[in-house]
Symmetry: C2
Subunit: 340 residues, 2 copies
């Protein structure tokens, strides 16, 4: 990793020297006012985003892409919002188990619920995939889709991040919000393509990121159509995983939900690798970006050894291929938006 | 059926009397020039579309709906384009079998291919679902998604409708194209929600209807992610149906792909019934429409007994609930756009 970082620092230095005159020319008040990415420090990463968008959007440019084909995809956890110390959807699920425990006295003695109620992460980990499936089964199924949406909305209104003491949907990364807005202002359609549950993310994606439900691609459970007691049709969530939008699944998800190869993709972990490869394999100019979490002081620092958001092979590939690697400590002047 | 038709004619007469003064007031040249639905004859159906859109779009109206929530869904076969004498995707599949037969001499003696090659619809029907699966398997799988797209595009360029002698993608209904454009001009997002194959429809939906790939929901087969011989990732279509977007499946598809309940839905057959019910069950004003094929002279006349596009229960329900039933013979002054 040291070599990779060194390499990327060297590239930064070289580009810095090349770009310095350009930056000086452009450093008046007018430029500062019109900077679409004010939370990004000047450097390779910021420059690569700005230049890519300018090249694609300029009519007559050899790399011009029609607005309809300007598809940009973003991973969610660790790319658009904070995923430490635990995936937010996992926090939701365990919080729900605790809230539901009063109606389930038997959970005190039954795994994986016992481990959740006793705050025993090792015991929970020991229950493995079966344990996770049981928790997903009681927190994400056995109710209508509308009831699930309400339970997520209620939880989001109450829950706070243990370190930052904010509602989770206020832990979107300010620099990434600026990228989303900048892309949309240039005719791009922005999508989430995440391993997270699609119905979970749709509750906050529009408010937090300006991304409407129909542009959220994620993992999903099976649902069943029923005519409810009031003669109105409802969809019941079943305890059965139907699609996992992760790794190669992200490419399958893009094909199924979007039906068009992205020209711009941003991720932060090895589960985004195939999505980035697939984006890179298209004809013409493409942007591939990785957020590298390097700032333990302002956020978290983690990569190759992390349980959550492991970034290893994709980092090597990004470095080898010259994709844009965002070093949070170096590239972001701000992490989160001002508290509301 | 006679009773239903009578009932709907009676409603038309009553509404016609009520609306007559309004129509007279509005019948100047200016109105004619700005009519967004020129291929619709004046009447209940046209009026119900215009009034619904006006009510939803007018700020301050009690039925105002935010643009982000203006989701309109359309079935494809028989609603947006012609589905007679056979589903167009079925024609594609059998044409492909014939084109591939030279490489498969064994098909001459092997069902269901034998029946296709001999033009024997009864023999083909006798092979049942297994026969259809075998045809789908050779025409819709065993190739990359890009190769499939190319095979559909090539076929569309060559094939002609047996009666209208036009390319199939020029058999969109002109009145429905006007509805799509009118909705979009009023901030609606228009989606296809069809039992047809999603990758088949995406080849022509943008060109024929102005509906981009990411707004096409349909049935799909499984795909597999692979790294191709040139080290680039590809998606291989597999001979396995994964999702059938029909009947209750349309509601499941809307939930999965769009994540928002439509306010406007148009179909033409019993497989659209649940989608219309689901749309109707939302809060606030909703539009539910059915295209009833009643014009054997200019197109086709079929409903309760038809093998293709059977319309029976949904027609009864639409009549009972006062949904908009479009009678093609009565309501459409033009069927298809001018030939290109």
């Amino acid at each position: 990793m040291a070599a990779a970082v060194l390499h990327s620092h060297r590239r930064l230095l070289i580009c810095g020297l090349v770009l310095a005159p350009v930056l000086l020319l452009a450093s008046g008040t007018a430029f500062a006012q019109s900077d679409p990415l004010p939370s990004w420090n000047e450097g390779v990463a910021k420059r690569s985003i700005l230049e890519f968008v300018a090249r694609m959007s300029r009519e007559g440019s050899t790399e011009f892409v029609k607005p309809a084909e300007r598809i940009a995809v973003f991973d969610n956890d660790g790319t658009l919002w904070c995923e430490q110390p635990d995936y937010i959807q996992a926090v939701f699920a365990t919080d729900r188990v605790r809230a539901m425990a009063a109606q389930h006295p038997e959970w005190k003695e039954k795994q994986p619920f016992k481990a959740v109620l006793e705050g025993d992460p090792k015991g929970l980990a020991a229950t493995g995939e079966k344990g996770i499936a049981a928790i997903v089964g009681v927190t994400h199924a056995g109710m209508t889709t509308d009831q699930f949406t309400a339970s997520v909305a209620d939880w989001l209104a109450m829950a706070r991040h243990p370190r930052f003491k904010r509602p989770y949907d206020q832990l979107a990364y300010q620099p990434m919000l600026e990228v989303l807005a900048y892309l949309r202002a240039n005719g791009f359609k922005t999508f989430i393509v995440s391993g997270g549950g699609v119905e979970f993310m749709r509750v906050f994606a529009e408010r937090a990121y300006g991304i409407p439900p129909e542009q959220v691609v994620g993992s999903s459970g099976a649902v069943k159509f029923e005519i409810g007691p009031d003669r109105k049709p409802v969809l019941i969530k079943e305890p059965k995983i139907e699609f996992v939008d992760d790794g190669a699944g992200k490419v399958i998800g893009i094909n199924r939900f979007i039906g068009r190869r992205p020209v711009f993709a941003f991720g932060n972990y090895d589960g985004d690798h195939q999505m980035l490869q697939y984006t890179a394999a298209g004809d013409g100019a493409r942007f591939m970006g990785l957020v590298h979490h390097t700032d333990a002081e302002r956020e978290y620092a983690y990569d190759r050894q992390s349980r959550v958001g492991k970034l290893d092979k994709a980092l090597d590939d990004a470095t080898a291929k010259g994709w844009t690697v965002v070093d949070i400590k170096r590239d972001w002047s701000t992490i989160f938006p001002p508290a509301k």
